[in-house]
Subunit: 210 residues, 2 copies
């Protein structure tokens, strides 16, 4: 069962009259891909539009797609009792999926939610496995993408382990400051593991020091 | 400058009279590698012995090696003021390195310390890059290894985001319970972001409930 809010009738074929699928261009940026791989990605990735507040994935879903964000912002969260814990926030030109859910193809534990109106490009698990088996260079692309995103996962683990709210806030400002004037504070507070009141206090303190 | 406590004169060539390098066997387990790749890994990986308490890496070092643990346990930690924050603990049959440090080849931020006497097998950054460029199948191995370890990194981020000490402890018991009777409590407490007193209280509570 899939209880998400995705548009069900997205076209399955990329319109190449305006260029290649952004997913193919991204792959090619990490390592040159062949014409055949360009063609396969163009033919098997598709646009998904999702409105602010709607869900790409809910707990129990099988995560069948990985998304490249062309426009908008997305967060993932888990529940601890009645509380949301935001595990990541990501924006345009980044990839997004449930890592564990996509790779294991077992029911997901987390929710993935659009926190702005989003334009995405989607690729399916099945098509990606086909590419890994038929286009050796896609394994090079994936290895390099993982190197990049693994570092980002370590970074998220690092920020969540800092014990002082001020250290967390300063680290966030230094690494992802642009999100502060864009993403609702409630999500940033939930990502940093602090209340909105504490986050607001941190912000005012820093502004006064400037 | 490298201020670690590694043995400086480790032999550079694997003694294949007792079989292939464990690093080659690990690679082959994820995806079949060629004889040439077996030979290269056998010739370019080497044993490292390190005593409990000693360091493989300290902040400011360039992380030149990735290690496969044959015996023992290792942790990574960062400093927040005078406090240690343990970011991971890993044991035999696992890989260990500074992800960011190894991939960027920039000075490391964290320390990596043996917390038991360890027997390791090491591969260098330079040799791994050579393998990626010459043995296409090693990119398949690396892609699969990353899929596996990326999930583990997400898992670490997840546990560190739980706000209740009891939730963190229970999650640890369920996922890595074997470490509880092996690793000093001070490291587990530091990994879980709680004091040793809180961790001991959690343990007694759970024992009473049994």
């Amino acid at each position: 069962m899939n209880n998400t809010d995705k548009l069900p009738n997205a076209p399955k074929r990329w319109d190449t009259s305006n260029g290649h699928s952004p997913m193919a261009n991204l792959a090619n940026h990490f390592h040159p891909i062949t014409e055949a791989t360009f063609k396969f990605i163009d033919e098997h990735t598709f646009k998904v539009s999702i409105l602010k507040g709607k869900y790409l994935l809910k707990p129990g879903d099988i995560c069948e797609h990985i998304y490249f964000i062309q426009k908008g912002a997305i967060r993932a969260f888990i529940k601890e009792g009645s509380k949301d814990i935001t595990t990541w926030i990501t924006t345009e030109n980044e990839m997004a999926t449930s890592i564990r859910g996509f790779e294991t193809q077992e029911p997901c534990l987390e929710s993935i939610q659009a926190i702005e109106d989003c334009e995405l490009v989607a690729a399916s698990y099945k098509d990606l496995q086909h590419l890994y088996n038929t286009s050796l260079e896609m394994n090079i692309v994936a290895r390099k993408l993982y190197e990049f995103y693994y570092r980002a996962a370590e970074e998220r683990a690092y920020i969540s382990r800092l014990s002082k709210a001020s250290s967390k806030y300063l680290h966030f400002v230094n690494t992802r400051g642009a999100l502060l004037n864009r993403i609702p504070l409630k999500y940033i507070a939930s990502y940093l593991g602090m209340t909105i009141e504490t986050l607001s206090r941190m912000r005012s303190k820093l502004v006064q020091k400037k």
